[in-house]
């Protein structure tokens, strides 16, 4: 585990890496997203756990994304994600539709080191009809006719997210956002931005230890205060709804998108 700058953090992503990203309400590293927008591979492969919003939208908007698997991409109350919708319609990205629990279940398979996970539902959907990597098998534990879907494990190369704090040993406090732990467990390595680094071990007391992702999963950490903005970070700050609405309105046109991006990239990060 190393402490690095946000720029060095994203330099750890290789072209073609499969990158797991959390939903907008969980712990999105917009600081790392900014670094990727400035200088990143044009061949990113993203797996949203299980949905994405502003992060996928921006990376798609500048052409960084080759492939996306997601249960949805939306800006929430601010509305649909216009660059995402445009890119899918014009087939500029390879879109693999899924459904929320299918992502969670496939990551759980990777956590356990097993090749697949069964999941209820999905039968009769056009999502299943177009997923040639999914299988429908008879439930082997009953004589009754009981088809069930099997999903191959998803083992991302990298989990990329933002969290409130880390200690000097690289233990990361994620609180109850346990999908970040699932992402990290399933991925080969985790790259994390945090609001701050605290003194003392987060594992020293039960109260903080229960919310910790231990350092063994974490490859590198960068300190990025307000690193989720304009999204929120747990109980530290809420999503900036005014800015998100401003983005949603701007991004309806290419010029508006470019202008908003210039503002976003022009913000200098406060370095610790």
């Amino acid at each position: 585990m190393r402490f690095v700058s946000t720029q060095e953090l994203v330099a750890g992503l290789a072209p073609g890496d499969l990158i797991a990203i959390p939903p907008d309400y969980s712990g999105v590293s917009m600081a790392a997203t900014r670094a990727l927008l400035r200088a990143g591979s044009d061949e990113l492969r993203l797996i949203a756990v299980p949905t994405s919003g502003l992060q996928a939208e921006l990376l798609i908007g500048v052409g960084r994304v080759a492939e996306l698997e997601a249960a949805a991409v939306s800006l929430g109350e601010a509305g649909p994600a216009p660059r995402f919708a445009d890119a899918v319609r014009n087939r500029r990205i390879r879109m693999r539709d899924t459904t929320c629990p299918a992502v969670h279940a496939a990551l759980q398979a990777a956590e356990k080191g097993i090749p697949f996970m069964p999941l209820r539902g999905l039968l009769g959907t056009d999502i299943l009809a177009h997923r040639d990597d999914w299988r429908v098998v008879p439930n082997p534990f009953t004589k009754a006719d009981d088809p069930i879907v099997l999903l191959p494990a998803i083992a991302p190369d990298v989990a990329l997210f933002h969290a409130p704090r880390a200690d000097r040993d690289g233990n990361v406090w994620i609180g109850r956002r346990r999908e970040l732990a699932t992402m990290a467990h399933a991925s080969r390595r985790s790259l994390v931005t945090v609001e701050e680094v605290v003194e003392g071990s987060l594992l020293a007391h039960e109260e903080s230890a229960a919310g910790v992702l231990p350092a063994m999963y974490v490859e590198a950490i960068a300190v990025a205060p307000r690193g989720a903005w304009p999204l929120g970070c747990q109980d530290l700050y809420d999503a900036d709804d005014v800015e998100l609405a401003r983005y949603a309105a701007a991004a309806r046109s290419a010029d508006g998108f470019a202008a908003w991006l210039e503002m976003f990239l022009g913000r200098t990060e406060v370095l610790a």
């Binding site: 991409v73 919708a85 899918v88 539902g121 956002r177």
Partner: protein, 245 residues
Amino acid sequence: MSRDAQAARRREAMLAAILRRLEGCRTIAVGASSPLPGTAALLARAKWGARVLMLGSRRHNSFTDGGRELFDIAAQGRLDAFFLSGGQIDGSANINLLGIGSYPDGLIQRFPGSFGSAYLYFVVPKVILFREEHERRTLPERVDVVSAPGTSPAHVHRPGGPVALVTGRCVFGFDRSAGRFSLESLHPGEDAGSLRAATGFDYDARDDAPVTEGLSEADHALIRDRVADEIAETYPRFAATLRPT
């Protein structure tokens, strides 16, 4: 009547209809982009102490095991009710959250995606469909893409499914064995003819369908004094429309 007043009356009818469908439910989950169902669920909590699990909220959400937990409790039967909408909803209660046109390579319009619908529609006993915009375009004979089917063959494990569709014009009940909607009530200002004209699919209807009852004075007071503030954490813009100006 002003457009704002019409919108408020339509919303009240929808809220009241959803609230009535929630009666008896102990545990209610609310998904993404669901301000109206979220408000109805929080009203159910204020009125009879229903447990509410609202995605995107920190205050009205007691999950501690990450994004998977909602889906896990749903498959175990711990969840009584959930809400789904769609860019299109058809006469067989199929919903489309994927797009308009030919899926996947010939879409004219792309929607956000299926979220958890392709799973929750199968396992939650009471799924209440909602779609404020009630037009032939949004309620067609047949959806362009099935992100979740309204019914399934008998051998498919399906303890859950749709019970009703609440729109900006009316309330439909859904008969799972017939695979059809039937009109339960019309919102104020609608009649049998206007409803047929605005609906793309065929449905059963009797001539004397009642008018959808609104909220009680007590419900209005609960929204004003409590629920508007509670929903504001997750849906600030929607909450602003619930408060008297």
